[in-house]
């Protein structure tokens, strides 16, 4: 299919919306838009962060997923209790591939599931006693934990347990931070509020813990990586670049991160924010309270990496800036070889994306470096400030869809006919069965890292591997091929 004009795209949206009842159509129409890069503000063309329409298939998660699964979960030396019935914790356990180093069960607890396993009696009589018991037990069984967080599941808010009181008491007893997080799943419209609640919990219970402690020796080159969850090792491949520039990364939030790193974060000179959606709250707070500037960066694809590295260097002196150029030069041959190898195989291919809160705009640069074109993008739980940042990244007349429903996404794909789709696990098998190459872009389809120059090579290989896989021509069985 050739490039679409804005009116074609608008016609497509109208056609897809046709099936809905009047009221639903009106609501969904606000979430679908034709991109216009000249717009400064997304609120003129798209509505986001609203409650999903009842009855449609949404792909969103809940506040608990945002807090336990995304922000708190990867902090490796703390124990995160999924407080409530067993399912929420067990079914999300270790699914996000936040890599870390350490001995699981001894000093790190990333892939383990701790839960209070609520039963009927806990709902009826309250679960505070159980929680207190669990906190003591954890301290006995895992003495090397550095702290505990209590991640509430829905029932906790419904029955009104006082987890704050229990946590405070336990914190005094065991002499470690115990953080109650009020991230009941029913709060908010998506996991996005869970990120916010988790950020607020970090701010209230963790961030100020070492304000009076000056034992940490700082340097003028201290930076932190914020909003990198180390999926498949992403934070590590970002970190090496920053260290080669001559900077010192003193904290990783929260992939492969530790409690001590978080407590020391206010001592950094610059906060580098990768996932804007999930951690802008804490960055803004630190700017206000500690005067630490923050900047958004993008480590997908060599163009954006070079841009980001230079922007980061701009905060520091001439030595760092000179180093940065050296780093870019050092990797130049490497990434040019990657592009030379894969660009001819991927040139002109069209991609549709539908991911969480940052990748729909961040990865565009990496695809463009490979000569591919992103023809549609959308966020599960992005807010309007995310769309503000997306409009300029995307070409004119491309599709933008917010909290797209299963039906709409399928219809868009049928009409736009992209060569590759990047979305999550719930969409993966539908589209693969439709015969369209698909990458699971939440956990890099069990590959990664994709950040940094090293990651770009893997990214390019994976895209090629998926797109040019011979299996796609074998989707239709031979006896049906003859009939068609």
């Amino acid at each position: 299919m050739s490039a679409m004009s804005p009116s074609d795209t608008q016609a497509l949206i109208t056609e897809v919306l046709e099936i809905y009842p009047e009221k639903a159509k009106k609501d969904r129409a606000k979430h679908l838009a034709v991109n216009d890069p000249s717009l400064e503000q997304s609120k003129k063309c798209i509505t986001s962060n609203r409650k999903s329409l009842p009855g449609v298939m949404t792909i969103r998660g809940c506040a608990y997923a945002g807090s336990k699964g995304v922000v708190w979960g990867p902090i490796k030396d703390m124990i995160h209790i999924s407080h409530g019935p067993v399912g929420c914790g067990q079914y999300s356990r270790a699914g996000r591939r936040n890599y870390y180093v350490g001995t699981t069960g001894i000093n790190t607890f990333g892939t383990m599931n701790f839960t209070s396993d609520f039963q009927e009696k806990d709902i009826v009589f309250g679960g505070d006693k159980k929680l207190a018991k669990i906190l003591t037990e954890i301290e006995q069984l895992f003495p090397l934990n550095k702290g505990i967080t209590v991640q509430s599941e829905c029932p906790i808010g419904l029955i009104g347990d006082d987890i704050e009181a229990v946590s405070k008491k336990a914190a005094k007893e065991i002499g470690k931070p115990v953080v109650p997080v009020r991230c009941e799943g029913f709060r908010g419209v998506s996991q996005s509020l869970g990120h916010h609640i988790a950020n607020d919990a970090v701010r209230d219970w963790i961030l100020g813990n070492r304000d009076t402690d000056t034992s940490f020796v700082t340097t003028p080159y201290d930076v932190t990586i914020i909003g990198d969850y180390n999926i498949g090792g992403d934070a590590w491949s970002s970190r090496t670049l920053l260290e080669e520039m001559g900077l010192r990364v003193i904290a990783q939030w929260s992939g492969d991160g530790t409690l001590a790193e978080m407590e020391n974060t206010p001592k950094a000179k610059l906060n580098l924010l990768h996932c804007y959606r999930s951690m802008n709250y804490i960055s803004r707070h630190m700017e206000e309270k500690y005067g630490t500037p923050w900047m958004e960066y993008n480590f997908f694809g060599p163009t954006k990496i070079a841009e980001s590295l230079r922007k980061i260097a701009g905060f520091f002196d001439a030595t760092i800036q000179a180093n940065t150029e050296k780093v870019i030069q050092k990797y130049q041959a490497e990434y040019e070889a990657v592009i030379a190898k894969y660009k001819p195989r991927l040139q002109g291919k069209r991609v549709m994306l539908y991911v969480g809160g940052l990748r729909p705009r961040h990865i565009i640069g990496a695809y463009e470096d490979l000569g591919m074109e992103v023809v549609g993008t959308g966020y599960e739980f992005g807010h309007n400030d995310d769309y503000d940042r997306t409009l300029k990244e995307m070409g004119s007349a491309t599709l933008i869809y917010d909290d797209v429903t299963g039906y709409e996404f399928e219809e868009f794909v049928k009409k736009v006919k992209p060569d590759l789709i990047g979305s999550g696990i719930k969409e993966k098998y539908i589209f693969q069965k439709m015969g369209i190459p698909f990458r699971q872009m939440h956990s890099w389809d069990y590959s990664g890292p994709y950040h940094g120059y090293d990651g770009f090579a893997i990214f390019a290989r994976d895209m090629d591997m998926t797109l040019n896989n011979p299996c796609w021509s074998r989707i239709v069985p031979p006896w049906q091929q003859a009939a068609a």
Binding site: Q41, K43, Y281, R284, E287, N384, D385
Partner: protein
């Protein structure tokens, strides 16, 4: 009466951020804008206007202030 966080943008202009609405907007004009005083009527680039009683001394940004919508 939204709570607004004001920070200095990369280009030196002030950024008006309403967390509840995820609205980021540059400030176009400030009624009283001197070294000793800051506040009054504020106009944003999208044309909306807000008011805050002028403050002395000028606050250091970033800071969170409570504005009245006009």
């Amino acid at each position: 009466m939204p709570n607004v966080m004001i920070r200095v943008k990369e280009n030196g202009n002030l950024l008006f951020y309403i967390a509840k609405k995820d609205q980021e907007e540059e400030i176009r004009t400030v009624e009283c804008d001197s070294d000793s005083e800051w506040g009054g009527e504020i106009e944003l680039t999208d044309g909306s206007r807000y008011y805050i009683d002028p403050m002395t001394p000028r606050p250091t940004f970033p800071t969170t202030l409570r504005f009245k919508r006009l």
